[in-house]
């Protein structure tokens, strides 16, 4: 039987938890064993950092009065656009408009509240958003 190497590297993202994978012994019998993969750690970290980066870029656009705080909170909550659309339950062309500052400023509290609920924040946090 072909050997399976079990990586025993550090993966800080798991915060002390350990996952298992299947490995075989000399007789070819399989069982589960704990492993730690730095490859996995790097891949996850990259995905987390990409959302952080998108949120940062959003802040810059908010300063320039282009993007709205909704865009920032979308990335902060690790959502992509279709996920946000589905969470707030509006048409995507509407949500797309709300991501722009000039349209955001005209929104009613009622609409804003739907976003607040999606992001688990208060109305003040969204309305009075400061970069």
């Amino acid at each position: 039987m072909e050997k399976i190497d079990i990586p025993q590297e550090e993966n800080k993202i798991l915060e002390g938890h350990r996952k298992v994978m299947y490995v075989s012994d000399e007789k070819g019998e399989f069982h589960t064993e704990n492993y730690g993969s730095s490859v996995e750690e790097f891949a996850t970290k990259t995905a987390v950092e990409e959302f952080d980066l998108l949120a940062k870029e959003s802040l810059k656009k908010i300063q320039l009065n282009e993007a709205s705080p909704i865009e920032y909170y979308m990335y902060k909550n690790r959502m992509d656009f279709p996920t946000l659309v589905s969470v707030v339950g509006m048409f995507s062309f509407r949500v797309k408009r709300h991501l722009k500052m000039k349209n955001f400023k005209k929104l009613s509290d009622k609409i804003l509240n739907r976003y607040c609920e999606a992001f688990n924040i208060s109305l003040e946090e969204l309305k009075g958003f400061k970069v």
């Binding site: 994978m21 075989s24 070819g28 987390v48 690790r78 992509d80 996920t83 589905s86």
Partner: protein, 329 residues
């Protein structure tokens, strides 16, 4: 009903959940067996479907395939419920737990507070089991965790009613009736053949061909001003394999374990052994492939698309060979 319930940790959430559920309801089935008899090994690459701006890549069948297929394959009556109203969903869940049921749930990882912060993404098809409630707290057997975990009702409800792709809609399930005389030999044979055929499908975006399609798109990647995308794309492939998948080509090891276990059921042992070895080789190769992807992402100066692409093609060859063997089982 679930008096013999015992929490165990598994490589994959859906096969792990089904294994624990069926075992505690009286039919002992290992995780590899649950994965194998539902013909779950797969590869899909759909560049035109985007998730977080990245193409859809999966190393196994779509979520819920195991839950749906296992009842068909083993002729199990599975109680499955979806809800519109979260309050009603909670009431019924509590009632089931009070009747001593062990209940499987579909949830979104993002809203589960016991997950490490950086693992919480909007992945809506995470499976776990609930078996006890004290006050507002549910006791959960989550197959990817070493120990029992707890979760507040409010947060679990959020996780059960998350929106987006694969939205769980409060989905819960548990076996209602399990037949006593199951002809495993026949079932396994059929499942293996079916899986072999699906890996050899002529559809260019799935199975062995799908792996080569992805390999080709990697080979065509060019660095010019594309660094951020390439880094995200390569690590995305790895995440789907390692994190959402299990342990780097872990699904291949899982399937190899299934083939090994199938030897007990009067099938061609040599053939199973050979195919099992090939899937282990594929899993090992996929791990090397993941390593190459990550090395390139860490240092794009060393980015060598042909080399990465070739590794994936190597893995696809093992799987093609194994599938051709298994068609004869």
């Amino acid at each position: 009903m679930n008096k013999e319930f015992e929490h165990s940790q598994f490589a994959h959430c859906e096969s792990g959940t089904i294994s624990t559920l069926l075992t505690s309801y009286g039919l002992k089935i290992s995780e590899p067996m649950a994965f194998g008899i539902t013909s779950c090994l797969s590869f899909v690459y759909l560049p035109f479907i985007k998730i977080s701006n990245m193409p859809l890549i999966a190393y196994r069948q779509m979520p819920k395939n195991i839950i749906n297929r296992i009842s068909k394959v083993l002729n199990i009556k599975m109680e499955k419920r979806k809800y519109k109203d979260p309050i009603k969903a909670n009431e019924e869940l509590s009632k089931l737990i009070n009747q001593n049921h062990l209940v499987g749930l579909q949830t979104s990882v993002f809203y589960l507070p016991y997950f490490p912060k950086d693992m919480r993404f909007h992945f809506n098809a995470h499976n776990l089991m609930v078996y006890k409630k004290e006050g507002n707290e549910y006791f959960i057997s989550d197959p990817v965790f070493e120990d029992i975990v707890k979760c507040d009702e409010k947060e679990l409800t959020k996780a059960r009613f998350a929106k987006g792709i694969f939205a769980p809609k409060g989905f819960l399930y548990y076996p209602k009736q399990i037949p006593t005389n199951i002809d495993f030999e026949k079932i396994i044979k059929k499942a293996i053949k079916k899986n072999a055929n699906s890996l050899l499908t002529p559809f260019p975006y799935a199975g062995v061909k799908g792996m080569r399609k992805l390999a080709k798109s990697i080979a065509l990647l060019k660095l010019d001003n594309n660094e951020r995308y390439i880094k995200n794309f390569l690590t995305h492939i790895v995440r789907m394999q390692e994190e959402i998948g299990t342990g780097g080509g872990g699904f291949r090891f899982l399937y190899a374990a299934f083939l090994q276990e199938s030897k007990k059921y009067n099938l061609d042992e040599n053939l199973l052994e050979e195919a099992s070895t090939l899937f282990v080789k594929s899993g090992n190769t996929l791990r090397e492939f993941a390593l190459l992807c990550v090395e390139s992402s860490r240092n794009l100066d060393k980015f060598n698309p042909e080399k990465i692409s070739e590794k994936l093609i190597e893995a696809s060859k093992y799987e093609e060979e194994a599938s051709k063997l298994l068609k004869r089982v």
